[in-house]
């Protein structure tokens, strides 16, 4: 059984709690399955609970920037509607395992700059994950080339792919 999207939209869909004093995720938020956008940025959250598939089935954008997270729960991949995920400036030391399964849906971004991934279908350009400012992104010995390339890409001023081709149509 699927529930029509508008049914979810007529209830609380946007909740912005950025720049507060939250130390953990308030449990009451887990009881609001209608959420579409949730910002918890600039708080002091150290960990997230496991998320079930029914917790936030419509959540599209989740911001966890500037918290004290040490890890992301693997169950993050249960957020089946997720389009945008940002967790910049945390203390995450290992690449979150959930990213593997989210990667197919989220185009990896760093500091809001797109990686130019040739095989990325254009419909994914609205999908992103932001994760700079975490320990696991520092030079990775097993993949030195990839890490170096990522940091160089982060320094470059990249423009979104559609905009690039809009400005330079002759390159299409």
């Amino acid at each position: 059984m699927t529930i029509p999207f508008y049914l979810a939209c007529i209830h609380l869909s946007t909740l912005l709690l950025n720049n507060n004093l939250l130390e953990t995720l308030p449990e009451s938020l887990l009881l609001v399955p209608s959420l579409v956008k949730l910002s918890l940025a600039d708080n002091m959250i150290e960990s997230l609970p496991e998320l079930g598939r029914a917790t936030w089935p419509f959540l599209q954008f989740l911001s966890l920037n500037s918290n004290c997270l040490k890890a992301l729960p693997a169950s993050l991949c249960n957020l089946v509607s997720l389009k945008g995920l940002s967790f910049e400036k945390n203390n995450i030391e290992q690449e979150p395992p959930a990213l593997g399964s989210l990667r197919s849906r989220l185009l990896v971004l760093r500091k809001r700059e797109y990686f130019l991934v040739k095989e990325t279908p254009s419909q994914y350009h609205d999908y992103f994950a932001e994760m700079s400012g975490n320990a696991f992104l520092k030079v990775n010995k097993s993949e030195p080339y990839a890490a170096k390339r990522m940091s160089r890409a982060a320094r470059m001023t990249c423009v979104p792919i559609p905009f690039f081709f809009f400005v330079c149509p002759h390159l299409l």
């Binding site: 059984m1 699927t2 529930i3 049914l7 979810a8 939209c9 007529i10 209830h11 609380l12 869909s13 946007t14 909740l15 912005l16 709690l17 950025n18 720049n19 507060n20 004093l21 939250l22 130390e23 953990t24 995720l25 308030p26 449990e27 009451s28 938020l29 009881l31 609001v32 399955p33 209608s34 910002s39 598939r53 029914a54 089935p57 089946v80």
Partner: protein, 86 residues
């Protein structure tokens, strides 16, 4: 006779309030409530009950704690019971 339409949006930002004003909780049909840049430490327990139509709640830049957010029952309309998309 004047029929005053109930407001759908209420903005109370940067007003240094430390509680959600009671008059706001009387606006039953409110869709958007902006309370950013205040000194709120907790949400009123009757929040969800009072504002069942609320779609957007902006609480950025306050002093809300985890307990303070949990104190306010957010509008959820029993979606958990009926939403079984998977």
């Amino acid at each position: 006779m004047h029929l005053v339409k109930p407001p759908l949006i209420r903005v109370c930002s940067e007003t240094m309030i430390d509680q959600v004003p009671l008059e706001v909780l009387r606006l039953k049909s409110l869709r958007v409530l902006v309370l950013s840049g205040n000194k709120l430490t907790s949400l009123p327990a009757q929040l969800g009950q009072s504002l069942p139509e609320l779609q957007e709640l902006v609480l950025s830049r306050n002093k809300l704690t985890t307990e303070g957010v949990n104190a306010g029952r957010l509008p959820c309309n029993g979606m958990r019971q009926i939403a079984q998309p998977f």
